[in-house]
């Protein structure tokens, strides 16, 4: 290894666009922590866990669609009135929304920054066919599945929260809106594809969080992949079932 330094012209390279630690005074803690990729991966993992919590709760809440319009609309309504007598209506809902927006911002912000870093770290690609042994499809497509899920979410909000993209949007009738949306086969298909992609994102992400956070011990390393698979499968099956249920007339 050391032999390289002895060769003329073999100084360590200057890599453009990469983090340059200065020997000057350290920055305040969160700023310094977030300036390295290892720190950013922590942030991605923490925000990823928060988003996983949201995805799970969202999926679980929507299962009430199988209990019929009354239960489902009651549930939708209860989200607005959570903690109601103590706080004004919608308070907790907005608190959760703000938290979610913050999590998305830092997750996507870190994703962009890491993507840029990795794009500059191999300026000349391999000229022969690379053979991957471990990097699976899910891991290599994180940024694609991530972005597609993001744009799907925007559409999803326009469809069922704001109502712009919904043909028969009735404020307050969540059940009817879902049915009206999913009755169009191409929209049902779009939801199914987007949720499959989310499942793929979670298949790698749900495992990756452990490594990024340094949660590693022979005692439970065996269940890390199992956790990711279970989580991704449960969330995906439930989410995909909603448009299917409307298409097959189980929910109408």
């Amino acid at each position: 290894m050391t032999q390289a330094t002895e060769r003329p012209g073999a100084e360590a390279p200057k890599v453009k666009g990469h983090h340059n630690p200065s020997d000057a005074k350290a920055k305040p803690w969160p700023v310094e922590f977030m300036s390295t990729a290892v720190g950013k991966k922590w942030i991605m993992a923490i925000s990823g866990i928060a988003l996983m919590g949201f995805v799970f709760a969202h999926m679980f809440g929507n299962l009430k669609i199988y209990l019929g319009p009354t239960d489902y609309n009651d549930y939708a309504h209860s989200l607005r009135t959570l903690l109601h007598p103590i706080f004004p209506n919608g308070f907790l809902l907005w608190l959760m929304r703000l938290g979610l927006i913050a999590m998305f911002l830092i997750h996507i912000g870190s994703a962009i920054s890491l993507t840029r870093m990795n794009q500059t770290s191999r300026p000349v690609k391999y000229q022969s066919q690379r053979r991957y042994l471990a990097a699976d499809f899910a891991a290599r497509t994180m940024r694609w599945t991530g972005w597609i899920v993001f744009f799907y979410l925007i559409y999803h909000l326009a469809d069922l929260t704001w109502g712009w993209a919904n043909p028969d949007f009735v404020y307050g009738d969540a059940y009817g809106n879902v049915v009206a949306s999913f009755e169009r086969w191409y929209i049902a298909l779009f939801y199914i594809v987007a949720n499959l992609l989310l499942g793929i994102h979670l298949y790698h992400g749900g495992w990756s969080i452990f490594q990024s956070l340094g949660v590693n011990s022979p005692r439970y390393n065996g269940i890390r992949r199992g956790f990711a698979v279970t989580f991704a499968v449960i969330v995906t099956i439930a989410n995909v079932s909603f448009p299917l249920a409307v298409q097959f007339g189980i929910v109408s």
Binding site: Q3, P13, V15, P21, T36, M117, A139, S208
Partner: protein
Amino acid sequence: MSNMLNLTLKVWRQDGPDTAGQFQTYKTTVADDASFLEMLDYVNEELIEADEIPISFDHDCREGICGSCGVMIDGRAHGPQKGTATCQLHMRQFSDGDTIEIEPWRAAGFPIIKDLVVNRAAFDRIIESGGYISVTTGAAEEANAIPIPKHAADAAMDAAACIGCGACVAACPNSAANLFTAAKMQQLNMLPQGQAERYTRSNDMVERMEQFFGSCTNYGECQEACPKEITIDFIAMMNRDYVKSQLVNRRRLGEKKVG
């Protein structure tokens, strides 16, 4: 008896760091008990005989301990055999009539010097930033003076097996050096002797590494390519130590003046 293999080689030839390179095709016949580097030696003999410039490649010990060798062989770092360096690869891994593509490591942190030789000085910079312990000079200490649990010693030894060849960077889709850095960090962080500088080391080595290399997406390619089969468990340990280093009282790390 050894079998003879007729091979077509596509070797990356590049005159210098700033010149364009291209694949050059060579035909050769070697015995299947030759090592991969011996095969390149034969090709070079033929090139020299024909008054051509031989292929430059790095090598030294040829027994998998120095970390000098290492090329991409058919798109895999150190070739098709797991847990071995290029010098330990034998031609019996290939079949008669094969075409073998040979390419240097490619990463911004590893610029090409010539042909298959890359500059791995960036690894030295990472070691300098924290891959050491400070000891008092003099006669060596009695080996059993410091009690070390057997498991910790074994784990540190697994990390210490790193020969610094750079296959982890070469194999990583992001050209990240996290496996190398983690191994060089954790071999010390897991032992009592490494504790005094543990958190400055964790902080400094990560920062230095990121000056040259990409970030870890937990692909796991590095541990597949590693000739010493070092696992990404050490990367998780490094991530932990790095975050701890950020939380350690800065006064203790010498970043803030006392008083």
